[in-house]
Amino acid sequence: MLSASYFAQQLINGIVLGSMYSLLALGMTVVYGILRLINFAHGAFVMLGAFFIYFLTSLWNVPFPLALVALAIFGGVMGVFYDTVGFRKLRGRGELPLLITSLGIYIFLENLAKMIFSPQSYAFSAPDYFYDRISLGNVSIANIDVFTIASSIIIVVAFSLFLRKTKVGIAMRATAEDLEAARMMGINIDKVILTAFIIGTAIAALTGFMWGAKYSSIQYNIGFMIGVKAFVAVVIGGLGSVAGSMLGGYILGIAEILTVGLLPPGYAPYRDGIVFTLLVIILLTRPSGLLGQKEEVRI
């Protein structure tokens, strides 16, 4: 029966999933805002991050907090490679080459992972204390869920402050609005773009840990759907809007879980279909997303 506590439990699961989508959507929307790049490879960094911390903790017994720091650094370094190898030479060549490059890099990384890790799935576990549960009346919430929700809020707030209060953050907003004018003002846009990739990719890698910890298993191909869903969250929220990507992430996560949790069991396989239907409905009613600005014609 659908009790209130069951519903609350599902809602928590939805918020957790939404938190992860929000984090990924944030990284995607920032890169999109500056480069107009739909970053298909974003999900691959989630997968690589998950494997990275899996090997650090499960195999080499690196203490957990240290492993988490290493994971963020690993993510940042991947961002540096991703930008310099993939996009540095494509500046000013239009949006299509960027899109195709990111798709190509996704396919490359997924196949590389398949080769190195084999197609099997790996049992992933975070340290035990992450699975202790805090009870709140009739519902209980695992520490990992608290961790994921809190991290996503902290990261999004920190990033918003970065955009408002720091010199590089303000330059990032200026670059997103008018890249050419930003160059004329002496902003080194290569640095700004690199910073955006580093931040986005580091967040993606950290999300890899949250993903693995929540679903207890990782595989070479988990990145694809994650990336696509994060992009859906970005579009629902409004391309280029930080607050929108957060909102889009939560809506998507909650809608997805409630679909699975509240509809009869036979409907669960349709969760992705339902997600995309939601996308279509929102875009039909609000073409620039919930919080998006209309794309200005660039002259």
């Binding site: 010199k167 303000i170 330059a171 907003r173 200026a174 609005e177 008018d178 050419e180 004018a181 930003a182 160059r183 004329m184 003002m185 002496g186 902003i187 080194n188 002259i299």
Partner: protein, 233 residues
């Protein structure tokens, strides 16, 4: 201060500048006039580093900067007031001004902020407002103030009178004189020849990417072809 030496610039296969040579001496206001599509903006973009010449030199303070990136040039003391202002409308007035000082690391930024806000008191009043909410004239003031925040030695101005009411145009030109008096060298691009001639000590006329005519404002505006093309008779 600035010298372009036989500069060729292309957009893909289309040549926009053909052997353009101009000279801007320190402390002067030099203007570059010409019809729509003549290549004026292209010239300024070549000076600020958005476009790289295929041939020729861009010499600034004795150094060929033709292949330096924009941010290095801005750091060397070149600032621009772009065509159409190009202020960042989703940033506040204050943030726009700070972007103007982006390449600077010296301690004088606060003083310069006070200076430009004294020059344009409206910017102080609107400091925390989004720049997109300013009127056209105010946006032009902001674009000029933003360029001054770079503490330029050479200021490039691309049609600063474009789309402004006549009384605002006069205001803008007063400011140009004032800035120049403080020792800033100015390369001014205009279609408004009438205003440009009043502040310039030398003028170049650009036609289809070629400089054919140059001289003092008196000499240039007395030419029949200039009168016909730019001064309505």
């Amino acid at each position: 201060m600035l010298k372009l030496d036989k500069v060729d610039v292309y957009y893909g296969a289309i040549q926009a500048l053909r052997g353009v040579s101009i000279k801007v001496d320190e402390g002067k206001v030099v203007s570059l006039i010409g019809a729509n599509g003549a290549g004026k903006t292209t010239t300024l973009k070549t000076v600020i580093g958005l476009l790289k010449p295929k041939k020729g030199k861009v010499i600034y303070k004795g150094e060929n900067i033709a292949h330096l990136s924009s941010h290095k040039r801005v750091k060397m003391g070149i600032s621009i007031v772009p065509e159409g202002r190009r202020i960042f409308s989703r940033l506040t007035v204050l943030e726009n001004l700070m972007i103007g000082a982006y390449t600077r690391e010296d301690k004088g930024i606060k003083d310069d902020l006070n200076f430009v806000m004294d020059l344009f008191p409206i910017l102080r009043e609107r400091e925390n407002q989004l720049a997109g909410t300013l009127s056209g004239g105010e946006q032009q003031m902001l674009a000029i103030a933003r360029a001054l925040m770079g503490r330029p030695e050479l200021l490039l101005m691309d049609e600063p009178s474009l789309g402004l009411a006549p009384n605002i145009v006069i205001e803008v030109y007063k400011t140009i004189k004032e800035i120049n008096k403080r020792g800033v060298t100015i390369l001014l691009v205009e279609q408004n020849v009438n205003m440009a001639q009043r502040v310039s000590s030398y003028m170049y006329v650009l036609e289809n990417g070629i400089v054919n005519i140059s001289g003092t404002p008196q000499n240039v505006v007395s030419l029949d072809e200039i009168k016909k093309a730019y001064l309505g008779g």
